[in-house]
Symmetry: C2
Subunit: 456 residues, 2 copies
């Protein structure tokens, strides 16, 4: 198979260490694979005939054709099984087992041993010390997290690679509740063999992946990473969250995934130069991913703000300026048209306050004018749905304008259950929606920046 | 009545402009007041006999005893009614009506007229151009927002004053869904009479108020505000969100509430000097309010981080350092004790990684040791509840330690529905819990800063 396809679209998968014991990783992996994966699925366990109704094999050697082996065994037995995979010509091996270079010198030696086993062969490893892969399309799922505690996100256009498995899994879980969809998730752990660079290149070519998000502590080869990233971003936006920014954080990282976090200032500058978008918070990663999945970048940085809540106009204006964007100056023509459709007591300037008694009709007229204004590159709209006069159908109005407009529209609304329900509707209609002004503006900033990356 | 009690604990309330028409503000205010307010409630409307089953009065003059009048009338009739209130000796008047100094010169003249009417009398005004008051304890509720779209938060210890009504109301709605409780909410609009300073002093003396949050665009008198704030914070923590930080934002503010936002740099320095805690985002306001409501400040800034997800340890360490706090160095004794209760492969340092297979017992032992460590001032705990081995009862373990420990404990957990349910349980047990590492650390920083304010 081509590239890393054997990991993500294997025709057959063996779970080595499959178990009937609910407390075992091998139980959980087999159970999840069975749910969604449609290819040949083979539990490997010398002490069982059948598990979950599937025929069990004593060893990978006994399976006729095998693309992917998932190893969930204790450390001591990993080399033996890996060697069997190499002998058999298995192309893809995910090793979940931990206790390697992240634990010190002795662990590093053990990890070297695994490298030696695959050297010169066609066998590739993702791991060690990882959660492995979740592919929402093919159903490959090596995450050993009980579904009662952890929900897989729906299918979508975001792919997420992460050095920290536990961190990554909590984020997947969070994505599910935020309504964000995933293509491929890879927890690559110690990158014993397959490195983040190769994953980036693979995902860039994956037609399901519209945006890549990466959580990294340290990279395997800085220069190479930036080279690859610089190429990838021409085609696929890349959002990075870098952990280990401080000395203390770096030290923690080294005992976590055995990686050298390096100087953050160097990373920061290199990311910028390569056109990588850096998120500064955990939510930020996916706030950016969402906007980059849904919208094309604007032509420039002149932002119009439209709201029926004056306070939000003030807050967003501050945030637009402090984030290095500009508040658009409406064209003469737009000003005239706005004056004719808004009440006499409305102030016609940016941020545009449609006043507390605005309804969906007023929103539609105003947004339509700004969507056609050549001085406006992008629009942030903040409908205060709590007010008396604003009908929930304003959501459809915004979505309609978004479909017609040749510029990005981002929405923001703060509030409780009623509001969240309507925000989710906006997301589903392709208008990225955020619960706070700051998050909406940072999303717009990322989009503007990415426009520059693509344009340059 | 004393101070502003007539606004918040009136024995009787008149809704002037009460209406049967569901589209009218006077309808909504009366309906909400009827739900929770237990004192005398009088609709005023010369064209009706009864509204919602309540006897209607043609004018406030016809009501025997009256503490608070809520005016929801059109601008033209406001002066007449206000004069009647003054003549009658009504102490408190909330004027919701807008179209005053926020609209320019003519509006300023109209607002001066109202000031002249109350001059020398005992009548005080909250407003104009506001939503007014919500008191979760007395049931006073002048917010004219339909309950289907907008939920009032439960009773609690946070009081919130805001210059922007619409903004404030969305925040109240958001508080309801975050499980935050409120004491008093005041949307004071143009501060025609009662100013933010007086509200701060009143809330400081209110025994239900444990923390005050203020959204301000500009203050009526900067020097006086800082004087008052400096006194208040000795007793009650004060969190401020300042809108109108940039020139563009200030300009927007002036057409919104007619306020002069002034130079943000000056505000920023003055807040710091006065011991006011400034929030930099909308969520931030209540992230800080929550921690200040629940916990006492630590003695110092040496923070211990405990998790079963290494990645979060790295992220929190970065965030602790970048927020100007320190990572605690565990005492020799703690190190020894931790070594004896944790598995051999655990690294004993801060951030303390309890490893992916941690259970609640391991959490309890580790937290108990750190709670007693004299080198640790505060603890941030990040339980990855999604993992196989960690039972949900770790929530009770954390809450138990929090009750016994003489230092603050803050929790953080990222994830979907399962996690949010357990975070809410932590909140209810008095352990402030956050969905992201950055928010948890900023909460701890605010607590440390407030400790310095109180200590100085």
């Amino acid at each position: 198979m081509k590239g890393l396809d054997c990991f993500f679209r294997p025709r057959s998968v063996a779970v080595v260490g499959a178990s009937r014991d609910r407390g075992k990783i091998g139980y959980c992996v087999l159970r999840e694979m069975r749910k969604r994966y449609k290819g040949g699925l083979y539990p490997v366990n010398p002490h069982a005939d059948r598990i979950m109704g599937l025929k069990c094999y004593p060893s990978v050697r006994d399976i006729k054709e095998l693309d992917l082996a998932v190893i969930t065994l204790p450390r001591e037995t990993v080399p033996v099984v890996l060697r069997e995979c190499v002998d058999k010509g298995v192309e893809a091996v995910v090793i979940i087992t931990s206790g390697y270079s992240e634990t010190g010198k002795e662990g590093r030696r053990r990890e070297e041993e695994l490298k030696n086993i695959i050297r010169g062969s066609r066998t590739r490893i993702i791991g060690v010390n990882c959660l492995g892969i979740y592919d929402a399309y093919s159903g490959v799922d090596t995450l050993f997290l009980p579904e009662s505690k952890f929900r897989r996100p729906a299918r979508g256009g975001i792919s997420f690679i992460t050095q920290s498995g536990a961190f990554g899994s909590t984020i997947l879980d969070w994505m599910s509740s935020e309504g964000l969809g995933i293509s491929k998730f890879v927890s690559y752990g110690n990158q014993t063999d397959v490195k983040e660079n190769e994953l980036l290149e693979y995902l860039d070519r994956d037609r399901r992946t519209r945006v890549i998000v990466a959580y990294i502590e340290g990279v395997s080869d800085g220069r190479r990473f930036m080279e690859v990233a610089g190429r990838v971003v021409k085609n696929t936006p890349l959002v990075v969250f870098k952990a280990g920014k401080t000395d203390m954080g770096s030290r923690a990282a080294s005992s976590h995934t055995g990686s050298l976090a390096g100087s953050y200032r160097i990373y920061e500058a290199a990311f910028r130069q390569a056109g990588v978008l850096e998120a500064q918070s955990v939510e930020g990663m996916f706030d950016l991913a969402k906007v980059l999945e849904f919208l094309r970048p604007p032509r420039g940085d002149r932002i119009a703000v439209v709201t029926n809540g004056g306070g939000f106009g003030v807050i967003i204006s501050d945030s637009v300026i402090r984030n290095g964007l500009r508040l658009a100056r409406f064209s003469r023509e737009s000003e005239g048209r706005l004056r004719s459709v808004l009440p006499a007591y409305a102030n016609i300037h940016n941020p545009l306050d449609l006043i507390g008694d605005a309804d969906k009709v007023r929103y539609e007229k105003a947004l339509d004018i700004l969507a056609g204004d050549p001085n406006v590159d992008g629009i942030i709209v903040i409908p205060l749905l709590q007010t008396f006069s604003l009908e929930p159908e304003v959501i459809d109005v915004i979505a309609g304008i978004k479909r017609r407009a040749k510029k990005p529209i981002i929405a923001c609304a703060t509030g409780g259950r009623y509001i969240r329900r309507h925000l989710a509707r906006l997301d589903r209609k392709g208008v990225p929606a955020y619960t706070s002004p700051e998050r909406a503006v940072r999303a717009m900033r990322a989009l503007v920046r990415y426009g520059r990356v693509r344009g340059s």
